[in-house]
């Protein structure tokens, strides 16, 4: 065991994973070598790529025991693709597969059966939700899971660390020769950001669509030179689970309080000026931040440069009102965002590598000024957990958390001080996902704490007369109300590793002890 840069014990070697590189600091690793590529291949002129079923496509790809298959999570909790493909694979008797989706959702509960039956033996992904998370935390999977951020996954694919044999990609608009986009059709979900990396680097690419359009399908986010087979199915997803309508403005007073505190911090930070850039998520408090920020931008006549990320109707509104010049989009969160990306050239689709990979000539996260992030837990060293609950069970997703925290000039973590009796600020987070050195400001409903590494921000906030708390003080306020939670018991068995975006290991996940 080696103690890594955030004080976690990391084994030097892990069966089925190999040698582990312990995390040192956010920019300690220098990459070497070249990007890998997909196989060279030949397609004879005018040969159709349409294939009758998913099962036939799996056979045509030559999928075998032990291979790696990938999926995207743009269909979110409405996704039918993963379950359909896994059922077909299981019926063909193929086993021992590595599943490498960009993320997993509650709708993927049927994977538990495929794990029990030996069809899936490894998983590498960004997030795992319930009930699969509980099963994995209880040790159901033979090999440890690998958790990567969105940027980390793109890096792993481009470097060859994660070699995809076959990518099965659901697309809502596609022609018979493999040109596809995410903008149109009954299952439209907008940006194909995560899938674009898979389409480029997988040895075999199968597109699965419920909306086969006349050739050519334009714009072609995924293009025919990357695609081996096209399958038409009845439906790729449940529209109710894919995207919501315009996500409403929160009425939750606690979220509004957190957002008000966050906007005060943004205003005082020195970064809120013409040409600033901004990313936020779709949680209640961050939506409210965007809403309040809009009013400030209008009142103070401040115009931003770009917004990044998962995109919501709030961000689309800022673009359409001329308050931002452009949007870089890896993932659309609601129908307004889907509409906008399909019609506005300044609402631009980017792949996950361009979004957040640490190992290229400059991802967009590197150019970000301000990012709003969430947290399951934050510790007094400012390390953030976004993968496991404080009960030790994997239930969330790393997403772009590490990437944007490292890239932004100011990373702001928004969180209530207490969530259903669980204090959010603790001595040691259950699992470190994002290292404290990249986390600048914590904004809670009780007040703001600034990382002591950012004396510049502390000075600015004090100048603006913002009330600041020491992070220890916030922890004490929380524990006074909740009481001190009992420590969660874990077994020794390591059931997963959490990579930092550069591929080093920032923490390990252990089997929960339910006895």
């Amino acid at each position: 065991m080696i103690k890594n840069g955030v004080g976690r014990e990391i084994p030097e070697y892990l069966e089925h994973i190999g040698k582990l590189v312990p995390y040192e600091n956010a920019f300690s690793i220098m990459p070497e070598g070249n990007k890998v590529g997909s196989k060279l291949k030949r397609q004879l002129p005018h040969k159709s790529k349409l294939i009758s079923s998913i099962k036939e496509a799996i056979k045509a790809c030559g999928l075998k025991d032990g291979m790696t298959i990938s999926f995207h999570h743009h269909l979110r909790n409405g996704d039918y693709i993963i379950n359909m493909v896994m059922d077909a694979i299981a019926s063909l008797g193929i086993k021992d597969l590595k599943l490498a989706p960009s993320s997993l959702n509650p709708c993927h509960a049927p994977l538990i059966e495929h794990i029990k039956n030996g069809v899936i033996t490894s998983i590498e992904t960004s997030g795992i939700r319930e009930p699969l998370g509980t099963a994995i935390s209880q040790g159901i999977l033979p090999n440890p899971v690998v958790i990567r951020s969105h940027g980390g996954r793109a890096r792993a694919i481009e470097s060859g660390e994660l070699k995809i044999d076959v990518a099965f990609l659901g697309v809502p608009c596609c022609d018979e020769y493999g040109n596809a986009n995410g903008f149109y059709g009954k299952s439209a979900f907008g940006s194909l950001g995560y899938a674009l990396v898979d389409a480029k680097y997988a040895d075999k690419v199968v597109l699965i669509t419920d909306n086969l359009v006349d050739y050519p399908c334009l714009p072609a986010s995924i293009n025919q030179s990357q695609v081996d087979y096209v399958v038409k199915v009845g439906s790729i997803g449940d529209p109710k689970g894919i995207v919501s309508g315009a996500i409403r403005f929160t009425k939750n007073p606690r979220d509004i309080l957190i957002a008000e505190n966050a906007v005060k911090a943004i205003e005082a930070s020195g970064y809120f000026k013409n040409g600033f850039s901004y990313q936020t998520g779709a949680a209640g408090a961050s939506l409210a931040v965007t809403q309040f920020l809009r009013e400030k931008m209008i009142n103070q006549n401040i115009k931003g440069s770009f917004a990044l990320g998962g995109i919501t109707s709030q961000i689309v509104q800022l673009l359409e009102e001329g308050l931002f010049k452009g949007i870089f989009d890896t993932q659309c969160f609601d129908l307004d965002a889907v509409r906008s990306i399909g019609q506005n050239p300044k609402h631009f689709e980017i792949d996950a590598a361009t979004y957040a990979s640490p190992f290229n000539a400059g991802c967009i996260a590197n150019y970000l000024d301000i990012v709003m992030l969430g947290a399951m837990e934050i510790d007094t060293d400012f390390n953030v957990n976004v993968i496991s609950g404080s009960d030790g069970i994997i239930s969330q997703a790393a997403g772009g958390h590490q990437d944007t925290a490292a890239g932004a000039k100011m990373s702001v973590v928004l969180a209530p001080l207490i969530r259903a009796r669980i204090p959010i600020i603790v001595d040691k987070v259950t699992t470190v996902v994002t290292p404290g050195e990249t986390v600048d400001v914590i904004v809670t409903d009780y007040g703001i704490a600034v990382n002591p590494r950012r004396q510049d921000l502390i000075d600015r906030f004090k100048e603006a007369k913002l009330k600041l708390y020491d992070i220890e003080e916030l922890k004490e306020i929380a524990e006074k109300i909740t009481g001190t939670p009992e420590r969660i018991k874990f077994k020794d068995k390591i059931i997963g590793v959490v990579q930092y975006r550069d591929g080093s290991v920032i923490d390990v996940l252990r089997e929960v002890d339910d006895a």
Binding site: D391, R419, A420, R421, I422, T482, G483, E486
Partner: protein, 96 residues
Amino acid sequence: MEIKKIGRAGTVESNDISIVIEPSDKKDIEVELQSAVLKQFGRHIKALIIDTLQSKGVKSAYVKAVDKGAIDCVIKARTLTALYRAAESEEYVWEE
């Protein structure tokens, strides 16, 4: 106090706890707890419910509690309210 009938208080909203107190044949207080924070606070919550009932002289009861992350003052208030209802008592003493 003596448990005469089923008494209920609380909800299953986030940060609340639902307490149902029933008469029991046994000579002790039995608590069946479901909680969103079972691992972190389960033992503490059970002990708090039993303490609260014992402080009012309850010797025998069956308690079904469904907790959604309530803090101590809420757990105590819901337990007492359910108790007064179960004991058909209106001699409320909220303060100690």
